[in-house]
């Protein structure tokens, strides 16, 4: 039962409203410290692991820790029903706020209803919820597709043959990004011929699909991939495919390739919102609990690095694993982890 108030947000730098007409919430201020829960779904991929690590690290920061009496994380796997049940349990157990990375953003209507009745702050990130009753920390997935498409349009002024490596079928993220790419390319009026394969956001699958596409279709003029981008570049290298403009995600391995082969034509736009958005979500939840004004839908800045701005040690790390997602600091929210800080933790500093 938040009050709908006029903007702007108490922390306008960080909490940028999604759109002109985005509402602003003000929850009744509560006494801290708070019990906050993070309801994660699937865990066994790098993005999610990194996300959980970030959440833990953020919650451990002294100023954040001071606000928290309990911070609980539960990962329930692929099954959205289990995740919904976990959230129901958090609600029944009287947590003050619940942060959720939804397995299926459409499935939470009943939970949102219950959370609202119980006066609990519900904040969704990554996969946002289809509602105006919970707070969404929103990544513009479609905008990401548009960004990549615009990058290709810029580098291929005469149009051309584009390879699009898609994500996991049936998800809204895949659909949104795909639509963004296509609408933008179509709108450009240039002769783009798009060739689609499915990479499932997985390097191995994307690599195989790309290799097959190259073997059968010959040469492409541009590439865009939603994930598994390191594998896509690897396949190009293995096949001796010339380097071409590429709009892709923010994997460290991808950026390594982009930096190394830019001169040969691998002109990259690497953009996305790293797993650190969980920290923004937690911050938003804490702000809301403290009675601060927050937008119902927060627009997360995209972490974008484009050719020729790739710099080792700054926005990618040549000596680190390929697998983590870089570019997930949100300075406007005071969140300044570098990914390697998170993933590079050793046993000693745990």
């Amino acid at each position: 039962e938040p009050a709908i108030v006029a903007g702007p947000a108490t922390d306008p730098e960080c909490h940028v409203p999604w759109a002109e007409d985005t509402q602003f919430f003000q929850f009744p201020a509560k006494e801290g410290p708070f019990r906050v829960a993070l309801a994660n779904g699937y865990i066994a991929n790098t993005w999610r692991i990194q996300m959980i690590q970030t959440a833990k690290a953020y919650a451990a920061q002294p100023d954040v820790a001071a606000l928290l009496s309990e911070f609980k994380v539960v990962s329930t796997g692929e099954d959205v029903a289990a995740q919904i049940s976990a959230i129901n349990n958090f609600i029944d157990s009287g947590y003050d706020a619940i942060v959720v990375n939804a397995q299926n953003p459409e499935a939470f209507a009943p939970v949102i209803k219950r959370a609202k009745e119980a006066g609990i702050v519900l904040v969704a990130f990554d996969n946002i919820l289809d509602t105006t009753d919970a707070i969404n920390v929103n990544v513009d997935q479609k905008g990401l597709g548009e960004l990549w498409a615009n990058w290709l349009i810029k580098h291929l002024p005469d149009g051309g043959k584009v390879l699009e490596v898609r994500g996991v079928a049936g998800t809204s993220v895949d659909t949104d990004r795909h639509n963004g790419i296509h609408e933008t390319l179509d709108a450009s009026g240039k002769p783009f011929e798009v060739f689609e394969v499915v990479g499932k956001w997985d390097d191995g699958t994307a690599q195989k699909a790309t290799a097959d596409a190259i073997a059968v279709q010959g040469q492409f003029d541009g590439i865009t991939a939603q994930g598994g981008d390191t594998g896509v570049v690897q396949a190009m290298i293995d096949a001796g495919h010339p380097f071409v403009p590429f709009g892709g995600e923010t994997e460290n391995g991808f950026r390594k390739f982009c930096a190394a082969h830019a001169a040969e034509g691998l002109k990259c736009s690497s953009a996305g919102t790293g797993p650190a958005q969980v920290a923004v979500a937690i911050k938003t939840a804490l702000d809301a609990l403290q009675g601060k004004v927050v937008p119902q839908s927060v627009k997360l800045p995209l972490a974008i690095v484009e050719d020729p701005d790739f710099k080792d040690g700054e926005n990618f790390y040549a000596d680190q694993s390929d697998n983590f997602f870089v570019g997930n600091a949100f300075p406007t929210c005071g969140i300044n982890f570098t990914a390697q800080e998170i993933m590079g933790q050793t046993e000693a500093n745990q």
Binding site: I43, A44, D79, S85, A109, P110, G170
Partner: protein, 328 residues
């Protein structure tokens, strides 16, 4: 008196599952911050019933000594279909429910026909039909969501509480057991299913309608998987064609069935056992909620508990005095 002993022997597998479930669930409740409240029970029931339905679906096929790797996909297909059909007035919703169930029936019938007339091994054929079912689900629901005018009333009724205390989903499950499972268990065709699973040549020689029994088992499997899909829709108000989720439910249903004392070699076990197996399996996940594990170690904990639970059945090995009995 003597008869009682035989009845008990028949139920042993189920009782073990029941015991595992009770222990884990008691552990869960004892440590739950909210305690033993109707809401907590309702939450656990809804989640448990969902898997229990799919596990029951798996049971029918496993009883015939087959295995159905497409139950998860029928479940997903039903979920996606229901997200379109459960709209409008009670009448149209009822028609929608009927449509979803019929679809499940048809999927099961297809599996059955391929197994019977194609004379193909169920484990492979259902991998293939599973791909087809998932393809159809993805076709009708390319991204998650539900149709405009989705009617939440039936959904709320079936996932809510009766008289404010008793979970409706559990009542529904009990009704299914009483109205479908028990009559099936006692019917001629039900016995035929057990006979076929226990020894197909002997059943054939004895004049048991082997093909009909198998067909009925697959059809019922499809029907129950579709009921699971319906429940998923009730629970989430939406449909999603998720391959990963389909596989999760398929594999969980196998785990539940085994935990519930149903023999993968066919002919032994009951759907009631499978239900407790499903509830026990869910309880493993629930334990995460009440114990404070490092989030990154949670999957390991879950795996280890599952490993221990499935190893429990091997305790009987220590009673085996004739090594030849190990091979039957």
């Amino acid at each position: 008196m003597n008869g009682l002993r035989y009845s008990f022997a028949e139920q042993r597998g189920m009782l073990l599952a029941l015991a595992i479930f009770i222990i884990m669930f008691a552990l869960y409740l004892a440590n739950h911050p909210a305690g033993f409240t109707p809401n907590v029970v309702q939450t656990a029931a809804n989640k448990g019933v969902l898997l229990a339905l799919v596990a029951m679906a798996q049971t029918f096929v496993v009883l015939t000594a087959g295995i159905d790797l497409s139950v998860g996909m029928i479940f997903i297909l039903a979920n996606c279909l229901a997200s379109y059909l459960l709209v409008g007035t009670p009448v149209t919703v009822a028609l929608g429910v009927g449509g979803v169930l019929l679809t499940g029936l048809a999927c099961g019938a297809l599996n059955g026909l391929l197994v019977i007339y194609g004379r193909l091994q169920p484990i492979v054929i259902t991998i293939a039909t599973g791909a087809v079912f998932f393809g159809i689900a993805l076709w009708i629901r390319p991204y998650p969501g539900s149709a405009d005018g989705f009617s939440a009333e039936l959904a709320d009724a079936l996932t809510g509480k009766v008289f404010g205390v008793f979970p409706a989903s559990l009542l529904f499950l009990i009704a299914l057991v009483l109205l479908v499972w028990l009559p099936f268990r006692r019917s001629v065709i039900g016995r035929a299913v057990y006979a076929v699973g226990s020894s197909e040549p002997a059943a054939y020689m004895s004049g048991v309608p082997v093909m009909r029994a198998k067909f009925v088992a697959y059809v019922l499997s499809g029907l129950f998987a579709a009921m699971g899909g319906l429940f998923m829709t009730f629970f989430t108000y939406s449909g999603e064609a998720s391959l990963a989720n389909g596989n999760t439910y398929t594999l969980s249903s196998i785990a539940a069935v085994v935990l519930g004392g149903v023999s993968l070699f066919g002919g032994r076990g009951s759907a009631v056992g499978a239900i407790f197996g499903a509830l026990a399996f869910r309880a493993i996940g629930d334990l995460l909620f009440v114990f404070d594990f490092d989030p990154l170690w949670q999957p390991l904990f879950q795996g280890v508990v599952l490993l221990l639970a499935v190893s429990l059945g091997s305790a009987r090995l220590f009673q085996v005095r004739n090594r030849l009995d190990l091979f039957t």
